[in-house]
Symmetry: C2
Subunit: 323 residues, 2 copies
């Protein structure tokens, strides 16, 4: 199917869902009414590097590519706006799978209030999806950055960790004794992670100090906050909220569950810091946005991340894993 | 070289060149002060599809990827703003070539007043460069669209055509009798096309009707204007301004020079329509911005493109070529 026809097929799927979008396709560029500050992030995923088509459906791939970008907007507390997509497909991929991919992307866009306002379709040796997302905020003070952590802050995380990595281990054949619902939830967490847009916006309003999405694993992402903020971040592994089934999958794969939860990426939960006197405000704000908060550490003067095991001893991770 | 180190190397090369850019790297997203309308376009090029590394240096590739996107902003008459780049490289590509690619991109960004404000570096089976550019304008009326052509308008084009395609034919071994300077100019036009940003902005101020950049070849691009404007566009091939050497290269390759100029893409000149009473204003405005204008056709009621040969007879092209 010629690229031009595929673009037409996509245009029939995609909807404009904001009055901000003045021109979404058919010209040299999209035109969007702008104001305040634009918050922009790009992400790309490639078959054989970030996913395999024998474990991910075309819809999973489309979802994952957009979700990864939107998760960056969530981590800034920006209002999601527009997405621009480059889809690179091998000739063997075919029209129906390309449409399935874009439909899943549009479905996430709809839930997130996002308009896919432009894009390009090209031939490529491996399936490649590159997504640029633009979010909006009134001004730069209405966002949360990695650099806002201060000594004395508490470290919190939303939701549960390790689910995406456990889902990947299941796909790779880990033989864990799980009930069907737990298994499905872990696979879903790996294949269709949800960006925490409402929670990120709510936490920003609750004036958290620093925030980042958990994409490289909480240990590495705590390191990004520490580096940008010029502080030391302590994370107590024994406090980490593990997703249901993570422990069983980790043991089946011969892994330590806490280390897996600390190093496994792509959970797309939010890791943040907050002054102790904001503890209850943060908890109730997150709850109202549909998320639980677990306090897992603290910020002090210094540099880098200190991981502390349940026995109180320091833990070294060999690296981070990016499913 | 780990992707993280390569990103650091790129951050040392890239410069912020607008006060609009509040945060360019190191966080989850870039933050840019916004206003008026944002004009956004995405383009991607892939090794083996859009270029070959035995004819294009890494710098050519970086230049070409950014130039293609900026040309879309030129065609809208938008002020160039920020670029976001996803660089996908095979392991064999290596650090020094990746840096050469980004340096060429930064060099074009500097000439264009653009800040490369964010990006991503990933592993990919073939060299892939995906670029999102954002331009700015006061409002949607301060831009020129493909849809503004009206019956009675003249059709004009900037600069000279066929150069990129002739350069490609030379790279593929066409044996034309050219002097060194002509040959170099054709190769340069193919490898390092310049987006006509100043000219596009000037033509927009001179109130041209419709505008598009010549990326698919003037015949196909006139078709895009005809379709979006709901008009018929006539292009007289005998009037097309051929780049020096195009005729010799076309003949050496057994091709008709006018058809080559009409169907060969990636010249990144601007094709536009204007009311006859604006003819002199358009010419003097373009001249002030450093471009010549050639009038090559006219707009009438109807649909589609009519190509007319030097003998006054209709010409059919077999398709368009995208080098």
């Amino acid at each position: 199917m010629p690229e031009r026809d595929l673009i037409r097929a996509f245009e029939r799927i995609l909807r404009v869902r904001s009055e901000r979008v003045l021109l979404a396709s058919g010209d040299d560029a999209a035109v969007v009414r702008a104001g305040g500050v634009a918050v922009t992030s790009v992400d790309a995923i490639v078959e054989g590097v970030h996913f395999e088509l024998d474990t991910h459906s075309p819809g999973d791939v489309g979802h994952k590519a957009l979700a990864a970008s939107l998760s960056d907007l969530a981590a800034m507390g920006a209002e999601p706006g527009e997405a621009y997509v480059v889809l690179g497909t091998p000739a063997s991929f075919g029209e129906s799978r390309a449409i399935e991919l874009v439909e899943a992307m549009e479905s996430l866009a709809e839930r997130s209030g996002v308009t896919i306002a432009g894009g390009d379709v090209i031939a490529a040796p491996a399936l490649t999806v590159s997504v640029t997302v633009v979010g909006w905020a009134g001004g730069e003070r209405d966002l949360t950055y990695r650099q806002g952590a201060e000594p004395g802050h508490l470290v919190g995380v939303t939701g549960a960790l390790g689910g995406s990595m456990a889902g990947l281990l299941l796909l790779r054949g880990a033989d864990a004794d799980l009930d069907e619902a737990e298994r499905d939830a872990l696979l879903l967490r790996h294949r269709r992670p949800e960006p925490q847009l409402a929670v990120g916006a709510a936490l920003t309003e609750a004036v958290v100090g620093a925030m980042i999405d958990v994409s490289d694993g909480i240990a590495a992402d705590a390191g990004h906050i520490a580096e940008r903020s010029g502080v030391s971040v302590e994370v107590r592994l024994g406090e980490l909220p593990l997703a249901a089934g993570v422990e069983a999958v980790a043991r089946a794969a011969g892994r330590d569950p806490l280390e897996l939860a600390a190093s496994g990426g792509d959970d797309y939960e939010l890791l943040f810091t907050a002054a102790p006197d904001r503890r209850e405000t943060v908890e109730s704000t997150a709850r109202a946005a549909g998320a639980t908060v677990t306090w897992v550490g603290s910020v002090s003067a210094g540099a880098g991340v200190r991981l502390v095991g349940p026995d109180g001893r320091p833990v070294e991770l060999s690296g981070y894993e990016h499913p």
